[in-house]
Symmetry: C2
Subunit: 210 residues, 2 copies
DNA sequence: AAATAATCGAACTAATAGTACAATTATAAT
DNA sequence: ATTATAATTGTACTATTAGTTCGATTATTT
């Protein structure tokens, strides 16, 4: 079944639609992009769009999934190419920053407005993929932290999993804030985004370091 | 002008509408609540609703403002009734948690999806009030941190303002995460929300403590 | 009682997600 | 080459809802 000519065509069409949606979502915003827009721009009729995707939401979530996958790869590569603990920590942070800058629309979604109940999974299977991709990203950070503990780079008294998630939540919180309040930081605080981020990441690092 | 019988009546009607909207937003969700719903439930005609508020968004933002005001008061009271630095820190955290639990719909908005440009302020004056209320909340946290530095409770090498905001962003990030992923924390991690929060707040505290 | 202001109601526009389905076109099988 | 099958299209449709319009009605003030 897979790899057949037919299956390939289906995937090709899906990708076409997703690419167009991606482009339009960035250009005009998700809400302002209509299904008619996507159909016109991708050169399909609206009916055909609905053959490939059940709803606009499903299109959106497919893009979220692709982005998560990309983020996961970015994290893996970044971690592998890092030489020491601190380097690795900042690489993870910066990968997240780059991701937020590249896909500001999707960053929040990736942080987890995603439901994890069976019913949603059945209604929209891509949600399960998103969930699983999230799990894998967690594991990556978990490994990083466990490694740091084993090698005595950081405090020995921490519980790995809750700390992984708290770290993740804090770092994402800081990135999200920096992005939303960039103008404010610059104007009222004379503190540019980059400096704010470095300061924030440094602070978080202090919380786990030996 | 203010305090006149007429002005009072206007305020009374506005409050009526806001209270109804508040109730319906919680009951059915913001998006699922229509202007017709609000009009019917509040016993005004739709036309009258539009006399008092220019749009649904304006209604929403008025509620956000009221909530921010409440949060500010909560923070002020909490801080005043705290006896020492750590107590105060956790009081601030818990005030935020309570707030998120009481108004989950509005928590994210309060963290700052609010624009701060002149144009938005002119189109919808309540946005300026929201902005200013945010500034005051910042000041409260700033005072708390400055105090702690002065009294040598925490590290002396900290730049106050960026740290205030990084703290705020981290704590809110953790709260937001805990709320969105409560089911996941419980099911997959056997870690209840309360424990996760305590752990997370403790971590953040480590980052500023002496 | 007349003038003014607030409110109402009901019909309207415009936008858009999603559907229905018959007509058309491309692809595959015989 | 012809037929059967599948994919695609176009068009018109439903349903929902934010926001508008405006003449009629009701309440308040003078």
């Amino acid at each position: 079944m897979k790899g057949s000519k037919k299956e390939n065509l289906i995937q090709f069409n899906k990708q076409n639609i997703l690419l167009t949606a991606r482009k339009l979502f960035v250009e005009k915003g998700v809400y302002q992009t209509t299904m008619d827009d996507i159909a016109r721009e991708a050169n399909y009729s609206k009916s055909t769009i609905y053959v490939y995707f059940k709803s606009k939401d499903e299109i959106y979530n497919h893009i979220v999934y692709e982005n998560m996958n990309q983020l996961k790869q970015g994290l893996e590569e970044g971690i592998q190419s890092s030489s020491n603990f601190e380097d690795c920590y900042y690489t993870i942070c910066n990968t997240l920053v780059s991701f937020q800058e590249k896909y500001p629309l999707y960053f929040e979604s990736i942080l987890g407005e995603i439901s994890i109940d069976q019913e949603s999974f059945e209604k929209m299977p891509i949600l399960r993929d998103i969930y699983m991709e999230g799990e894998e990203i967690n594991k990556i950070i978990e490994n990083f932290l466990q490694n740091a503990i084993d090698n005595n780079y950081i405090r020995q008294d921490i519980e790995v999993m809750p700390t992984v998630l708290a770290l993740w939540a804090s770092i994402c919180g800081i990135i999200s804030f920096a992005s939303k309040k960039e103008v404010y930081l610059q104007a009222d605080l004379k503190c540019n985004k980059q400096k704010f981020l470095e300061n924030g990441f440094g602070l978080i690092l202090q919380s786990i370091i030996r």
